[in-house]
Amino acid sequence: MNFQDLILGLQGFWARQGCIVQLPFDLEVGAGTMAPETFLRVLGPQPYRVVYPQPSRRPADGRYGENPNRLYKHLQLQVVLKPSPEDVQELYLQSLAAIGIDLSEHDIKFEEDNWEAPTLGAWGLGWQVMLDGLEITQFTYFQQCGGQDLNPISVELTYGLERIGAFLQDVDSIYAMRWNDQFSYRDVRFLDELHHSVYNFEKADITRLWATFEGCEAESRSLLAQFRELPTEARGNFPLLAAYELCLRCSHTFNLLDARGAISVTQRVGLIQRVRTLAVGIAAAWLEQQTEQQGSGASHA
């Protein structure tokens, strides 16, 4: 199965389960969870189902395109099911069948894995799904996001597409995968890995990165402060989504600084806390804004 057929197969399967097929979020994120389609949608009471592939950038994991198993930017397929359906494990296993994995011939284990994202104030309980000894999916019942207790509970499925693709094609290097019949993964992505590894580890200007971090943080914080000062009725169109994107920029800039070795162990904790403060503040504000809008909507009806 070509790499792109794997993506299409999983998207198709989840589309048939009522998921919106979203496009990847168009900012740098470290994980599909950080895209607003997960981070903000799991907040509040509205049911939602969505599937999207998400390039996830982890600058420190870059290997100049030389390591057959590690990437600076890997592709996740993210599924969010809200509320969590009763047969969610069965649905997940069916999705594997949909990409040609016959479970009667393989060994599947759900091994405890408790997920936590300190910068997002988010955690959940679940598993890493192991297929013949290979971790292919993170399966998480979200309990808290942006510091908010969730109700209803959402399930997040994060498929590691390169790993599954290399498994299905039985190749030892991600780069040897066929993307489609004409092109390999190397053809499509190698320069991306190489250039960004050089940039992340050697070229990124530390002073300007700090300025970016500080600037985005200041802008996001200022937006949150303005939101807090507005009377309830004037909050409806306040750009919290922009505040959240600024928070994501901080997070990515932090990762770049980290890859450049510009962050000491003591600084690290403080910086994570600063990003987390933004994420938690935005989550709380977002919930208020949503609740207020639904409240006013109900009164017009």
Binding site: N67, F110, E112, L125, I153
Partner: protein, 662 residues
């Protein structure tokens, strides 16, 4: 008729490290309730079983109804109960109503105190179904969970509960846990059994589960795993994990390129296989690794070899990664890594690991000088290089291999084996270091951490010990005792830095007490006696030897009792002097006591204790024949001093007042 009760709580996969405990808690909660309600004989011992997806409880001979007991309840006196017309008064009727009975149930009763009304009240008789409907949800809710989750409603558990089977004989018992209602439908192994199967009677257990490829009894799964693991390096922890990670275990034997046996340290191979992949490593008869592994699968077979192929592929990728890290690491020597430790923070206020390495070097050198046959130069060099492997990629990838990687690097750069061993053994959690130089390095590391943390006010308080200082101190105490190193902890701490000596002494004393009671297994009061003695707790090895001598000494109870009596008198009089004037000892008993105590000098603790136990008689004679409160103040003072001196002289090995005399 008593029936078998079968309860199956079906869950999404529970964590392997917890599921046994969850099953046992559930069973014990449920048994307690059933016994309290009289549904189950108090001597019954129901079966507890589990898989990752189910907690199972099977109790034989559960009665269908609670036994009924009839009890006579006495009411008000008859004169208040019978009205003028001969009928019952409202008071008597009220008594009957309070017991749930009509006035017609009242009757007269005469006892020793007079005549009363009474009723016969029966209790119990509730059906098992009614009791189970409340007891099972309660038994689940009462399980102590380290961390719980929500999935739909407000009910919390370790993972979502998806089905419940409750059968008493052939009858289904209706109940609800959260949003899940009980039924008679269970679920088979995910790919080998039926997705759903119906259970008709509690007697279907365990055959019907077997038929659906679910081995519910953990000991059967363990037996299957063991049967497949001949040649595997024994690993009880891994075996437990795999028992609790499978419903129908089988094994595959995979292989890997033998070149990794040469290009990677064996600890790396084993860590990848065991910790990362949950594989058993395979050894040949002389204990060397073979290029093979055993993976336990939750499948009946691997007919096409796909599972083996997939696992080999994953292992190949992991080994190839590790090989890359290890080759990168070998490009720099340990000494070349020293400057890199500047940027690895040990603790914000205590500086970098580079600074720690310098401190460890001088401390290890001093420590080596405190012991015989401990090479200063080896200890100092090993201590300075001990933390260099923290800058290695291999250690970043496998933090559990700290020290071990450093040891391999030392070997690879042809340093003396004694240095490699000392670096390897610095953590020494499982057992003391193999060499004296290794002990010096290990102690230098731990003492530096402990004294450093105390000096910046980061000592453990109550249950909070964020830096694991207690564990570090346990390691020190254990090393000193088991390697027979008579080191003074106070002297070593003073050498390690500036911190409150009294606090450190109290901290180490507590750790020593823990070792002597919990690890060495000495009686609590003997340990207290030894630590309270004049020789104290400062030299752990000495305390251990006194404790051992005291534990082995023949009966010390008699002398303990009289020494205690002497101590009480001294304490009551607040007597401080122990200056005895031999010339003032008029009575022969007191002179005899003095001479015997003065003559105490055992070649070792066992002998001295033997002499001390011989002092019971002269002490008793002193109390029987000599009056301490002599009218002459000088004689009185001299006798009190004699007692004080005797108590002090006898308390060098152990403070006998701490010994519990049965």
């Amino acid at each position: 008729m008593p029936e078998r009760l079968l309860v199956e709580v079906g869950c999404e996969e529970m964590p392997a490290r917890m599921v046994e405990d969850l099953a046992r808690q559930f069973a014990s909660n449920l048994s307690r309730q059933l016994k309290e309600h009289g549904l189950l004989d108090t001597s019954a011992d129901p079966t507890v079983a589990w898989t990752p997806r189910r907690l199972v409880y099977v109790a034989e001979a559960v009665v269908e109804h609670q036994p009924t007991t009839e009890e006579e309840v006495t009411g008000p006196p008859i004169k208040m109960s019978v009205a003028a017309d001969g009928g019952w008064t409202p008071q008597a009727a009220g008594f009957a109503a309070k017991n749930g009975l009509p006035p017609s149930a009242l009757y007269r009763l005469t006892n020793a105190k007079g005549e009363y009304v009474a009723v016969k009240k029966s209790t119990g008789g509730a059906s098992a179904a009614t009791i189970l409907a409340a007891a099972i949800p309660a038994a689940l809710a009462e399980i102590q969970l380290p961390r719980s989750m929500k999935w739909q409603t407000s009910f919390r558990f370790i993972r979502p509960i998806r089905w419940l089977v409750v059968l008493l004989g052939q009858r289904a018992v209706a109940l609800k846990v959260g949003e899940v209602a009980s039924g008679v439908e269970s679920r088979g192994h995910r790919s080998l059994g039926a997705a759903r199967f119906q259970v008709n009677t509690a007697a279907d257990y365990p055959g019907l589960w077997h038929a659906n490829h679910v081995i519910v009894e953990p000991r059967e799964r363990r037996a299957r795993i063991r049967a497949h693991c001949s040649g595997a390096r024994p690993d009880a922890g891994l075996e437990d994990t795999l028992v609790n990670l499978t419903e129908f275990p089988d094994a595959i034997v995979g292989s890997f390129d033998a070149k990794y046996l040469r290009t990677l340290p064996p600890e790396v191979l084993v860590t990848v296989m065991r910790d990362h992949q949950k594989y058993f490593a395979v050894e040949n008869k002389s204990g060397e690794l073979e290029p093979k592994f055993i993976a336990i699968i939750n499948q009946a077979s691997d007919r096409k070899g796909l599972i083996r192929h997939g696992n080999e592929r994953v292992l190949r990728a992991r080994f190839s990664d590790a090989e890359f890290f290890w080759q990168t690491d070998r490009k720099l020597t340990l000494a070349e890594r020293l400057p890199k430790l500047e940027s690895v923070t040990f603790q914000a206020k205590l500086g970098s690991y580079r600074a720690k390495a310098t401190r460890m070097k001088s401390l290890a050198e001093w420590l080596a000088g405190q012991w015989t046959d401990c090479d200063h130069a080896i200890a100092a060099t090993a201590a300075e290089l001990a933390k260099c492997d923290l800058t290695c990629e291999t250690v970043k990838e496998f933090p559990e291999l700290q020290g071990i990687i450093g040891g391999h690097l030392a070997r690879a750069e042809k340093r003396p084996e004694s240095i490699a061993i000392a670096i390897t053994d610095q953590y020494a959690w499982e057992q003391p270091p193999r060499t004296r130089e290794g002990a010096a390095v290990s102690l230098a590391d731990k003492l530096d951490t402990i004294v450093g943390m105390f000096s910046i006010g980061e000592q453990p308080t109550g249950s909070a010990d964020p830096f694991g200082l207690r564990r570090q101190a346990n390691g020190i105490v254990r090393t000193l005792i088991e390697m027979q190193w008579p080191l003074s902890v106070a002297a070593a701490c003073a050498q390690a830095g500036h911190a409150d000596a009294a606090q450190l002494a109290a901290f180490f004393r507590e750790r020593l007490a823990f070792y002597l009671t919990d690890t060495a297994g000495f009686r609590y009061d003997l340990v207290a006696a030894v630590l309270a003695a004049e020789r104290g707790a400062d030299i752990p090895l000495d305390a251990f030897r006194r404790c051992a001598a005291l534990a082995a000494a023949p009966d010390m109870a008699a002398v303990a009792a009289v020494v205690k009596r002497a101590g009480n008198i001294v304490r009551k009089e607040k007597w401080n002097s122990a200056e005895v004037d031999r010339a003032l000892l008029a009575h022969p008993s007191e002179a005899a006591l003095y001479d015997q105590v003065a003559g105490l000098k055992g070649a070792d603790y066992a002998q001295e204790l033997n002499q001390i136990s011989g002092l019971a008689e002269p002490l008793k004679a002193f109390f029987d024949q000599v009056r301490v409160n002599d009218p002459d103040p000088a004689i009185r003072a001299n006798r009190l001093s004699l007692l004080a001196w005797t108590v002090a002289r006898l308390s060098r090995i152990a403070d006998f007042s701490e010994i519990v005399v049965a």
